[in-house]
Symmetry: none
Subunit: 126 residues, 4 copies
Amino acid sequence: MIQLDLKSRKSIYEQIVDGFKELVTSGVLKSGDKMPSVRELSKMLTVNPNTIQKAYRKLEEDGWVYMVSGLGCFVSDKPQAPDPARAQEIYAEIGEGIRQLLYIGLPKETIIKEITDLVNERGNRE
Amino acid sequence: MIQLDLKSRKSIYEQIVDGFKELVTSGVLKSGDKMPSVRELSKMLTVNPNTIQKAYRKLEEDGWVYMVSGLGCFVSDKPQAPDPARAQEIYAEIGEGIRQLLYIGLPKETIIKEITDLVNERGNRE
Amino acid sequence: MIQLDLKSRKSIYEQIVDGFKELVTSGVLKSGDKMPSVRELSKMLTVNPNTIQKAYRKLEEDGWVYMVSGLGCFVSDKPQAPDPARAQEIYAEIGEGIRQLLYIGLPKETIIKEITDLVNERGNRE
Amino acid sequence: MIQLDLKSRKSIYEQIVDGFKELVTSGVLKSGDKMPSVRELSKMLTVNPNTIQKAYRKLEEDGWVYMVSGLGCFVSDKPQAPDPARAQEIYAEIGEGIRQLLYIGLPKETIIKEITDLVNERGNRE
DNA sequence: GTGGTCTAGACCACT
DNA sequence: GTGGTCTAGACCACA
């Protein structure tokens, strides 16, 4: 389900967080789906339960899942209307990335082309 | 030199980091320029020295400046040839942002338009 | 019955919790009234049942409803005499909030005025 | 410095978080002050370092301190202008408390009087 | 069973 | 020395 790369610079819990975000945005996991329990996923990935809990808690803080003690962890409802404030935050992050791309010397046209490709690529999955 | 918005949700050190990136990309600061010392800038902005230090450290991590102990903080050389590995990392981050924008319901066209604007906006300053 | 704002930063379950508290304090729901079942409300609000369950659980924790397994969820009796210990806990929480308001720079008069308004606003519904 | 009540229902890390917020708002700790290191405070309170780190991280998320790897943990700069969004959040929490006070049967006048006292009491410390 | 918290260690990268 | 992460356990309240 989620591939961990222990050699990666990304910490394990971050890989789990990003992995789940990908599973949700790509439609594998949908609103209300029960996620593996902390202990279950811990065994599946042969990772310590505390690491899983750290990842789940981050996902909850970011609003992707919610945890109910005694029941488990569930995928949050998908927002039906785009949240402009949230969009603005994400644009700010992307803008930061763009600034760095320009700084390391990539031409504007290349950047626009690459990102347009990214959008179309991911957009077609939905 | 740098305008701080104390009412902003952005933390002070982030505003300083972004402010310096702006100064560099817009050409006000150039490769090798000496940056104000921590204490100096701390007085200029009436901000705690630790806050400046955290900002400088972040800039160093991101490769925008380098610090020489005993001499101070200097603007890094602009990379002559783009680092493809670094570019790939940044594209990955941007791709993650795009996935989230699509997930919260923004149409592809809007995203492409907004990001193209971002690139042109920042690109024109160079 | 309850209006959900999907664009809000408040999570869905929090909106449901607050909505029910409003319905009780405003007298629409009275002691002993049966609340909609989890499945029923889930359909009414087109929200995942787990979300409803989390909301009901929170309401039960806060003492606004009680759940009888096999029968459903009912509005609790309104306490006849105020519980001084509980009141003390709540005052402590409010005091913590006030300390933070003062810390971020709001004048005492503003705070008192705003809170008096809050009390009168909510108090008039009873 | 901070009194822990192991019998309390509040978890240890929450007591530490609230304790530090109190130390900052009451002026004992000021902007830029270095806080005890994770290990140091861990020994002072005879509490596990992980518990301290959890508390410090929560404080950092809430914007009260910032941590610099290799340097330590420092009290954030005090916002010079009140953040209206933050104030609104706190008022919402207080409003929630008021709703519960009214629900358990306290009269409006009592609540207003008690809270006015709280504001004046804490306001005079600054 | 579930998550929530805590302890007692360990190793890493960085100053 | 500093924080950041991770492991391997433990106990609790709740359902």
